[in-house]
């Protein structure tokens, strides 16, 4: 399945402290001509690949700023250009829920969206509109949005970005987020800052591991209450059942992920597109297939053979991590042929927390290529 991180705009109504996208102050919104091309490209790809699906992840900025008319247009383009393939287009949306309306929800439902991804910050003045990031206003609007979403029978899941001010408050934040939404547990992602750390929010991989580590016993002892707690539960499932991880740790993102920006520029994924780390041309000129199989992706695939012979040789965590995110390697070292800069953090989380608490032991080194 191809996953398209689709950012028709980078504008947002909030001014979150750690958001590099907002800091770009990019006002461009994808015009309808380009939007139509996107749907044509999707149809083209799906017709050529029967049995394939495309997940179109609406992202931003704040997608709700596009307004209902934009989504109606999108649906219209889908109906017109993807008549036989629209059943294989899966729409997902990530929104801060602060400006969601009934009209938008009706359209999302028409697009087949059942759950809205969002993110939240319990600590004050980190997320919010304006220079001072009025979290009080933001939070009220957020909960109004949640109420509307739930009244319409939609689900919502929350991402939490772990940053320096979160450190030492893992349990408090965890309980807050799990109390706030009983139907879906939060995902704890590490902060990524590519355009400076003016507010001293960045954390080391070890600090991230320690933050998650504090939550490992909470999750493990209460799995009835907290069905999932990503990434902790994902790691544990991977150890237990050999499930492959997604995204960063899957080792399989070479030809499955792409990004489309407001101007049609294509890149590898959300982060790489936001900061133009990798350029795969423009959707105007290139097919989705060409973008997914761009030669620049080859090293990402080769990485899975290179690392086990080199820096990840004999690493018992290989089967979980697969060298981590290739983009992490690229941004830190200028090359994909390195493990993620978060390697020490992953090991720390697994060795110091997950293994002792669960009693499991990870022993998934790279397969011996000589045997």
């Amino acid at each position: 399945m191809a996953v398209v991180i689709f950012k028709p705009l980078e504008k947002c109504n909030s001014n979150c402290l750690y958001c590099g996208v907002v800091q770009k102050k990019q006002d461009l919104v994808m015009d309808y001509d380009l939007l139509e091309i996107v749907f044509n490209r999707m149809n083209e790809y799906l017709e050529a690949n029967p049995g394939e699906k495309i997940t179109l992840t609406w992202h931003g900025g704040e997608p709700c700023l596009l307004g209902p008319e934009y989504f109606r247009k999108a649906l219209d383009f889908q109906d017109r250009h993807c008549k036989e393939t629209k059943d294989r287009i899966v729409h997902i949306i990530q929104s801060n829920l602060t400006i969601i309306t009934q009209e938008l929800i009706d359209l999302f439902k028409e697009m087949g969206i059942h759950t809205i991804g969002t993110s939240f910050e319990p600590l004050p003045n980190i997320r919010g509109p304006g220079k001072d990031r009025d979290s009080d206003v933001y939070n009220r609007l957020f909960f109004q949005g949640v109420d509307l979403v739930e009244k319409n029978g939609l689900g919502w899941g929350c991402i939490y970005v772990v940053h320096r001010r979160s450190l030492g408050r893992a349990r408090e934040i965890f309980y807050y987020l799990t109390n706030m939404n009983l139907k879906s547990q939060p995902t704890f992602n590490k902060i990524y800052l590519y355009s400076g750390d003016e507010h001293n929010l960045n954390i080391t991989p070890e600090e991230y591991a320690d933050f998650l580590g504090e939550l490992v016993p909470l999750y493990w002892e209460n799995r009835i209450r907290y069905a999932q707690l990503k990434p902790i539960s994902t790691f544990i499932e991977a150890i237990e059942r050999g499930n492959n991880m997604v995204c960063d740790y899957s080792g399989r993102c070479a030809h499955h992920w792409m990004y489309i920006g407001p101007d049609g520029k294509a890149s590898h994924c959300g982060r790489s597109g936001d900061f133009a780390f990798i350029d795969y041309g423009n959707i105007r000129d290139r097919t989705i297939h060409d973008i997914l199989y761009d030669k620049k992706r080859d090293p990402i695939e080769e990485r899975q053979l290179f690392l086990p012979e080199n820096e990840c040789k004999d690493c018992r965590f290989w089967g979980i991590c697969h060298g981590g995110c290739p983009l992490d390697a690229y941004t830190a070292h200028g090359s994909f042929m390195k493990p993620t800069m978060n390697c020490s953090g992953i090991k720390r989380l697994l060795e110091n927390y997950i293994e002792p608490v669960t009693g499991m032991e990870v022993n998934l080194p790279p397969p011996d290529t000589n045997s």
Binding site: P124, N139, R140, F143, D147, Y175, Y176, N179, I224
Partner: protein, 292 residues
Amino acid sequence: MKQKPGKEKMIVVQDGSGLEKKITKKTLVVQVDTIEKAVPAFGKWSSENRVFCVVVHEEKPLAEIELSEELKIIPLALFLKEGGAPKTVIEKSREFREANITLYLPAHNPENFTLLQILASLDVACGVYLENEAKPVNWDSMNDLMYYAAYSPANHARVEPFDYAVSNYDPQEYLCFTTPWFENPRRFFYMDENENIALSRKKMEEGDFVATGISSFDSLDDNEKYKEHLTMWTNQFIDNQRCASCPAWRVCGGAFVSICESNPNYFQFFNDLLEAAEQNRVKQEQDTEWRL
């Protein structure tokens, strides 16, 4: 109450309010202030409505409560101020077992916890209630009674609100543990003689109404004040109050914040209640016995 629990909305009315001729085709909880009034009230209000339960707020002690044969067949919730001696409870248990009754005793008297355990073990449905937030409660004793209700392997009757909490717990839903006390803004709507609607007994006493008029009951879901009340819980999160980060929030809901702040055992009680509810859920899910 021996009726199957559900989610239907009920109007809580005071007998003698004159509303019995005005309200029709509703499910009611009828309040009376003496047990002698329960049977006539049940009859009167049942003619045009379904009476879920008659709630008696009785001043008399348990020893003076006599259950007639007519009383034994109507669904009763009897809130008493005092329980009396164990002997009284044991002797009364015989007639109470024959009745469709749940007997409530106040939590501020530590002896009542023993009496409730005696009652439940003698197969009399019972419960503890918080009469007044200001009256201190021994939360350790509350916890002990909860443990008994949740974990005792021997057959015993319900002990509320524990039984409700444990049986109705859903990890994906908020639990309103005050429901057995007829306090749940999604289910119980207090109506006075002027057809004012309040969301709890206390709010009724304070004159804090959300709507007026019997006809407004059916459209309460669209009532702005009501909707605002239902979302008030979010203030705990918006203001980042202590309750928002409490692991026991999903069973407590911040119901008695003032008690929690002054008594650490309050938190422990709700934490243990949550665990008991979860264990019960696991047990239910593991029950693979087939049955018709």
